[in-house]
């Protein structure tokens, strides 16, 4: 049922919207992994990023492409949580760093303890082994979408990569990580805007990489791949 809803949503809304309002030009499309397990690591400027990356796959494979998305944002109310889980098939991720293993509700953030609200939909409480359900999806052969910058940030500007992705790569050292540099979607629908404005979007798929033995080396390589792709698609800053 959920798979059918997802298929309908992409067929009737997402794909026509991307084709007409945006238009996507993907370079090195042959580097896109056709089967899982694999991780697509993209820079993040817009909610449209996820829709675009999922639409790169044929409808038959759509349900195997799973965006990893922040639980605090996408499970914050029932409507969004229903959409995120039922239509987008997200794998919710707690954004709190792993080393803070004891839950510390911070009053200034209005912090609610883990397990509040939509968290009952998560396969496991986040503070035990926050990546377990994500690793299970990889083990099942899914293709994951991950935004290592952690949030959308300033439109059309890359921000520093967070090392969260390295934890996952360390646990699944043979899984290929494919860096994808996206441009233009931050203009079409940046953070904080609701009105999409048509722009052509560009994407550059990089060479796959995997766990380099330690976290720093892995992150350096990933960062270097992004820098290369950004150089290839060099454009003036959007100010």
């Amino acid at each position: 049922m959920s798979r059918a809803l997802q298929a309908l949503f992409f067929l009737l809304i997402v794909r026509p919207f991307l084709a007409l309002v945006l238009g996507v030009n993907l370079r090195h499309a042959d580097r896109l992994p056709q089967t899982g397990p694999a991780i697509l690591a993209a820079n993040h400027n817009s909610h449209l990023d996820t829709l675009l990356l999922m639409s790169l796959y044929p409808m038959a494979k759509l349900h195997r492409v799973r965006p990893v998305a922040a639980a605090d944002y996408f499970l914050k109310n029932r409507v969004i949580a229903w959409f995120a889980l039922t239509i987008m098939h997200i794998l919710p991720l707690s954004r709190r760093p792993r080393k803070a293993s004891t839950p510390q509700p911070s009053p200034e953030k209005g912090g609610h303890p883990e397990g509040h609200k939509g968290a009952n939909e998560m396969p496991k409480p986040a503070n035990e082994k926050p990546l377990a359900h994500i690793e299970a999806a990889l083990a099942a052969g899914d293709i994951l979408i991950l935004f290592p910058e952690g949030s959308r940030g300033e439109p059309e500007r890359r921000s520093a990569l967070k090392s969260g992705i390295a934890h996952l790569m360390a646990d699944a050292p043979t899984v290929p990580v494919v860096p994808i540099y996206l441009r233009g979607l931050g203009k079409a629908l940046p953070k904080g805007e609701w009105l999409p404005v048509p722009f052509f979007a560009d994407g550059w798929v990089g060479e796959p990489l995997s766990w380099q033995g330690d976290r720093a080396a892995t992150m350096r390589l990933l960062e270097a791949r992004f820098a290369e792709l950004e150089q290839e698609g060099k454009a003036p800053a959007w100010e």
Binding site: G184, K187, P190, V197, F199, F200, P236
Partner: protein, 308 residues
């Protein structure tokens, strides 16, 4: 559909078949590095010609929607390649919103508004929206580039569609669709002929600073061929008589060249080779309609002044 129009469509079909056969033979007899590109280009011609013919064969409204869509894609491509300001994101939305309005005037055959809506009202409205946003850094450049895009991709191109709003009775040979077919076919034919003459005999460059691929032979040969075909086809598709088809051929030949190199100059300025990748083998949609942005208004006013 008027019989002359039908005959012209068969003629285009024959040209497409001939082009495909020639490229196929070249690929077979003298294989070269550019073959795949040529093949893609030919395939795209089939698709573009098919869509265009389908639109004008069905009805006037669909043809107008077709041109509105071409304007939209061209404007989107333009806004995507030029540097825009972050502050103008919503202003661009209003520029896009002008497209359905402009094409509604076409559909309504409301010449008075069609001819001033973008040059006057949008020209005044866009800076107003920008003032409301309040970002003054780069204001003049942004206002200029936004309006240039609207004039080129929407105002100019909509002249092709407005040919369909002209009364059929004044063109007994083939109706208003005959004029549109004459303009669009000759503009595209001129592009191809300039390319072919340039490849066959081109040596001296016309404007190396803007477009190093353009040669004197391509320019002259293209215009001559276009004018000849205009003279042959005009009696069957247009109300043009006497010297007029020759003038129309020259307008389309020279105008098409200027439109082409104008977009080339912009691409050079921005440091890009193609305006996009929408049409395999051709580049972007601006690369394809660049010549039409000049020929459409020039040909329209030529015919309109003489016969309507």
């Amino acid at each position: 559909m008027p019989p002359n129009l039908q005959a012209a469509l068969y003629g285009i079909l024959a040209l497409l078949v001939a082009g495909t056969v020639i490229i196929g033979l070249k690929k077979w007899l003298r294989p070269g590095a550019g073959d795949h590109e040529l093949w893609l280009r030919m395939r795209s011609w089939w698709i573009m010609a098919g869509l265009f013919v389908l639109a004008i064969a069905v009805d006037r409204a669909l043809s107008i929607v077709f041109f509105a869509l071409v304007s939209f894609l061209a404007l989107k491509e333009y806004f995507s390649i030029i540097p825009t300001r972050r502050a103008d994101r919503r202003v661009l939305f209003w520029a896009y919103a002008a497209i359905p309005v402009q094409y509604f005037w076409v559909y309504d055959a409301w010449f008075g508004l069609f001819i001033i809506f973008i040059p006057v009202y949008l020209f005044l409205f866009i800076p107003l929206k920008m003032v409301i946003v309040g970002e003054t850094q780069g204001f003049l450049k942004a206002a200029g580039t936004l309006h240039w895009g609207l004039m080129t991709t929407v105002f100019s191109l909509s002249h092709a569609a407005f040919l369909l709003a002209l009364p059929d009775a004044k063109n007994p040979a083939a109706g208003s669709a005959g004029l549109l077919l004459f303009l669009v076919f000759l503009t595209q034919f001129n592009d191809v002929m300039q390319f072919v003459w340039g490849k066959l005999a081109g040596r001296r460059k016309v404007i190396p600073k803007v477009s190093p691929g353009k040669t004197v032979a391509g320019f002259v040969g293209g215009i001559a061929t276009t004018t000849l075909v205009a003279w042959l086809a005009a009696p069957y598709l247009t109300p043009l008589t006497g010297w007029q088809p020759i003038a129309a051929g020259l307008i389309i030949g020279i105008g098409g060249f200027v439109g082409d190199v104008t977009i080339s100059a912009i691409k050079r300025d921005l440091g890009i080779k193609d305006s996009g990748s929408l049409i395999p083998g051709h580049g972007g949609i601006l690369d394809r309609v660049d010549s039409l942005t000049y020929t459409a208004p020039l040909f329209f006013h030529f015919v309109y002044y003489l016969h309507y």
